[in-house]
């Protein structure tokens, strides 16, 4: 999407203060409740968000798409792989020297500790440009704007249809034997009669539940605490306390 500067100016109040870059990475601390000015209780999730370092800037010319790669938290060097260390290190290695000697431009490095959590945010023309090594903090968000939060929800392991999809199960009696929590027959529910002999894709069945990427859209930012890098959003977000999340500008308009 290409966006003219007039569009940005006319929509400043809509969500982003001044063509904000993208988003932030953070960690879910937990849920609690706070009072707003009117004395009404607001349920909030506390997110420890940022500071995030820009590790890489993806460009249309080189990578085929526009994005910024952010890193959050620090991974001890002994636990980081060589690739992870090299990704952030601005070191004069033998290889980089020989590349420089051959006149190959060096790739910009963030020059920081290896990041614990690395994710990319797609950018478009309306977003402010980022530079490698730049630090992004909760300053990006203003109180009252709406954000999307992306995380990985809690894994439930293998779960049956009653627990996972709220199926009713089978009767306790009337001839039902050892089959009370089963889904029952699936043949006639899953197919368009006369079209195929196969069950339709997406038919709800038992199996692995949870531990998948979930986006919760349009959460209101209740409070921004610059000092402690804390963000309060109204409502729940996916994942356990301590889980890593992405906080991005919402793609829901109006």
């Amino acid at each position: 999407m290409t966006v003219g500067s007039e569009w940005i100016e006319s929509h400043l109040d809509l969500c982003w203060v001044n063509a904000m870059p993208v988003g932030l990475l953070g960690r879910k601390v937990g849920m609690t409740q706070v009072y707003d000015q009117a004395g009404v209780i607001v349920p909030v999730t506390v997110i420890q968000a940022g500071p995030c370092t820009v590790l890489q800037v993806r460009t249309q010319a080189r990578d085929g798409y526009e994005a910024v790669q952010l890193g959050f938290g620090e991974k001890p060097r002994r636990l980081a792989t060589r690739a992870e260390r090299g990704h952030v290190a601005a070191i004069a290695s033998r290889r980089s020297k020989s590349r420089a000697a051959r006149g190959i431009a060096a790739v910009a490095k963030a020059d920081c500790e290896p990041a614990r959590f690395v994710r990319e945010f797609r950018t478009d023309a309306g977003d402010a440009p980022c530079e490698v090594g730049q630090k992004l903090t909760v300053e990006l968000f203003a109180e009252g704007v709406h954000v999307d939060v992306i995380g990985r929800n809690k894994g439930r392991g293998t779960a049956g249809v009653m627990k996972q999809h709220n199926f009713g199960g089978l009767p306790a009696s009337h001839g039902v034997k050892r089959h009370h929590r089963a889904s029952g027959s699936v043949g006639s529910h899953g197919c368009d009669r006369g079209h195929s002999g196969k069950i339709k894709k997406g038919k709800r069945m038992a199996g692995r539940w949870g531990n998948e990427r979930i986006t919760v859209r349009n959460l209101k930012v209740v409070r921004v605490d610059l000092e402690n890098n804390v963000l309060l959003v109204r409502g729940a977000i996916p994942g356990p306390n301590g889980g890593y999340v992405m906080v991005s500008k919402t793609n829901k308009r109006g």
Binding site: V29, T32, V34, G39, I41, Q48, R116, V230, G242
Partner: protein, 131 residues
């Protein structure tokens, strides 16, 4: 990066806690002054009764007050830290031996009375002297 600090939650909650905690004990008869918004006007409503329970912690802490209205028991639960509670006055200290006075629900008339405790414990005595 260490694990997220649990005290961040406390820090967030601290802003929503009452600067001066309400001082009362279970079994006290109290007057609770609540702010009520009627249209644009704000007025104070007083709820009088016996504190029969207190539960929760942090911003979630609340207490339950019971009174008899027209022969019918009425219980109201107040969030401890709600800014809508303007004031809480302790009218009378009741002598009680437990933290939850749910047994009062089964009693009628004279049986619901609690013996007055003359010698108030330190905590409450201090609150009284402040008034």
């Amino acid at each position: 990066m260490t694990a997220p600090k649990k005290d961040l939650l406390k820090l967030v909650e601290a802003s929503s806690l009452r600067a001066e905690p309400l001082q009362f004990a279970i079994g006290d008869t109290v007057n609770i002054h609540t702010r009520i918004l009627e249209g644009d006007k704000e007025r104070i409503q007083i709820f009088n009764g016996v504190v029969i329970a207190r539960r929760g912690s942090g911003t979630r802490e609340n207490f339950t007050v019971r009174r008899i209205v027209a022969g019918e028991g009425v219980e109201r639960t107040f969030p401890m830290n709600s800014p809508k509670i303007a004031k809480l006055e302790v009218v009378r200290h009741g002598k009680v031996r437990r933290a939850k006075l749910f047994y009062l629900r089964d009693r009628l008339g004279k049986a619901t009375r609690l013996t007055e405790r003359r010698a108030a414990p330190k905590k409450v005595a201090k609150a009284k002297s402040e008034e």
